[in-house]
Every structure is written in structure tokens, then in C-alpha cells.
Amino acid sequence: MRIFDPHIHMTSRTTDDYRAMHAAGVRAVVEPSFWLGQPRTSPASFYDYFDSLLGWEPFRASQYGIAHHCTLALNPKEANDPRCTPVLDELPRYLVKDNVVAVGEIGYDSMTPAEDTALATQLELAAEHELPAMVHTPHRDKLAGLRRTLDVVRESPLAIDRVLVDHLNETTVQEAKNSGCWLGFSVYPDTKMDEDRMVAVLERYGPEKVLVNSAADWGKSDPLKTRKVGDAMLKAGFAEDDVDRVLWRNPVAFYGLSGRLALDLEEPAATHEGNSILRGGE
């Protein structure tokens, strides 16, 4: 089973996770820039974070035979903090980078006017840079959040079929599907979706344009959820081709819209010991 996790925050994960993910079949990931759990207090913190998503994290991933790309943006939560919003002025010089395959995660957190502005501005930036956009739907007031998100996308210069709407569930999938966007589902322990609910959604709505991710981060989450969904699909009678479509071909097609996806992995020089993940002077 080859797996592409289209949404995972590897910065928060260990090398053991990389090893386990590779063993489970994960060969490619996309890491969206997001909130760190601890508020940033200046734009410079974002630039260091972006640099890490463009340098150190792909290097770490390559040691485990996993291709790493990223999406960059000012996240919805911090779009509300005037100390952070100057990031929007610097974003264009990052969006031209080779490893950036979308603008994201953008979207709504609390649905404030500041979030309206950040979302609209960044959808425009995506269109300008010929990038797709990865849009997160809010955890609270989800259906209203989805509707408002889709309205802003329709008013933007970015075509809806270049937008991935993430964190969908049973209550939002139908409206999202009707809109023509790509459909993202985050499978989490306890919250968001679980494997069996995911399988039920796939049975009801089909695998077309569906992407499944672990959204694993610094919270309670599981970087192997993608594999678990694949196994649950097979158990429920889906064909291997359906699994491959959802877990590989759909994410490749969506992020491939950027023209920047590079999946021909070179064999890492020192896979076994993860040789170069050594601390200096140790």
C-alpha cells in the first residue's frame, strides 16, 4: 500500500514516527504551516518556521525515504493577532519556492473580520502564484463555517476545483461535494473522523476527489491513521485500486496542480541508523 499523507505536522513528530510511517507505506507527506500550540509574537517566528519547512524537515523526511512538501500561509488563528499579520507582506517571496505545493492552511477559526481579510488575501495570492489552496474548516460552528468559506472562495479569483476543503465530516461532506472542491478528511483518535466513519462516508459519497489525512501534530493524534483507513477500506470490501486512489492518486492529483510535486525519491544515504540525525557534538 503506497500512502501520501496530505496533511501532517511532522515538525511536531519524532524520528520514530518517520520510521513507523515508512514501514506502514507512507512515501510522501505534505506539511501545512499552522499554529504551533504556543502563540507567535512576531513575523520573524514565521520566517524561521517557513525556513524549517523548506529545509530541515524535508531533510529529516528524506532520511526515512519520505518525500516532504509544504503549504505556507498565515493560519486563521493568528490572522487575528496584529503582531503576526505582517507575514502576509512577506508571503509572496516564500510562495515561489520549489517545495511549496499550495497556500495553506487558511480558512476560519472564529469567523472574525480579520480572518475574512486573511482568507481573501491568501486566496488571491494562491491564484497569483498558480498554486492550489488548502482550506481548513473551523472546529466550532462547522456547517456555517463551511458555507462562509465556500462563499469567500466563489468571490475569489481561485477556481473551486483548485481548493481542498479539509476537516470535513458527515454534516459537511454533501455541501462541500456539491461545490466541486476537493474533499479532505482528518482521521483522529477520539475527535474528528475515525476509520469506520471514514469508510461509511466513502461508501456513501464515493472516492472521487477524496483525500484522507492524519493531521497528526503536537496534540493527541496518530500518524498511522492513513494506513488504518486503508486497512478498514479493504476490510469493508473496497478494491485495492480504490485505496490507492484515495491514499495516493488523489493527493498527487491535487497537489500536482502546483506543478511542483517531486516524488522521485532518491535512496537516502544512511537509512538504517538515520546517521545524520545526530546532534552536533554528541
Binding site: L54, G55, R93, Y94, D98, S276
Partner: protein, 232 residues
Amino acid sequence: MTTTADTLRTHLHSVLDDPARAWLDRALTGAATPPADPAAAPAGSGPPAPRKPMPAWELRFAEAGRRCGPTHADDARVLLLLTARPDADTLRPLYDRGTAAERRAVLRALHELVPGTEAVPLVEDALRTNDTSLVAAALGPYAAEHLDAHTWRHAVLKCLFTGVPVDSVAGLGRRAAGDRELARMLHDYASERTAAGRTVPDDLHRVLDLTAPPAERGHLPAAAGGASSKES
């Protein structure tokens, strides 16, 4: 155009496909043309100037990977640098806000672009990272020329630590020759590895051999205690 640039251009022309070659030629033409000087406008009049847009060649520099493919992107970026010939002040932000691939290209081009020691901080930054591709790129001819002895020795040791082949260290033989402090560090590292029951990398012995004083130096000073006992 320098000889290095000519060699790179010839090489890239032979390996790139048609669209990539056409892209590269356009990018090089753009890089060779100095941008219009916005400083010509009278200072102090009117509203503050908006942020300077990124020069076109810097955009080409960023997108070289998706235009030329990851295998040839490093060479294409170095060639763009050798054509645009930015000074150390321009190289700094290019490096600081660069991806790992962009940083490698800046490091590789330093010896052709920066005659003095102004760019040593970039090399030192790369040597602090644990990305082995950056460490290797940092140790080119510029580092051989300008790094102080202490920093250079630690860089060599870091190569042995992280598995960077010492073949990537420019001027290794010349700088290592007669360096008894480097020899001591290598011996100590070998003892530490042996004590931990780990093998001593072949490259360590290679560098150790290079630290022997050049033969033409007639009188060898007595070896420091213990330092001459060779690991098996």
C-alpha cells in the same frame, strides 16, 4: 563569465531537455542584465517607496528546481549566481531566506563571488546545521581559503560525525598537512568510538594520514605523547 560558469553552462546544455534549456537561457539573459536603478529617484520626496520587488533573476533562482528538475537544479542555481554576480550583501538574504537547495547553491558559488571574508558567517551558519548536504556544500574552496583553523577542524570532525565524505572538503590535504591539533582531535575521536564499541570510519584514517607534516619539511618535531600510536 568565468571558466566555472562556462563549464556549468556547457554541462547543463548537454543534460537538460529542450524546455528546461530554453528556460535556463532566458533566465541567464535576465540575470546578466542589471536591473534599472530605483535609487535614481530623488530621495526624501513623496511618500515612502513601496517594498522593492524581488529582482526577476531571484525568482528564477527560486524556481530552478521545478524548471530544471531536482538533479540539475543546484548547477542551474550556481550558474545563475555566477551570471548575476550578487555581492555579499545580496547573498546574505538570499541564503537566510533560502530553501536548503538555494542555500547549497549560494555556498557553492561563494569562492567565485566574494573575494574577502564577508561571507564567512554564511559558511559558519551552514556548518551549525545538521543537514549534511549543507555541511558538504559549506566546505568548498571558499571555506578552505577563509575559515580559521579552529572552525575548519571542527568542520572536518563534523563530517566524520555525520557521514559526510571528506572528499567534499576542498583543500583538505593542504590544510591538514602538519596540523597536529587536528591529528589530536582525530585520535581522541577514534578512542571515543573504540571505547563505545563502534567502528572508526575509514575517512578518519585518511585524514589522519594527511595530517603528517609534508615530507619536504626536513626536521620533524617529536610527536606529542600518544599521538603517534596509530589505531590498527
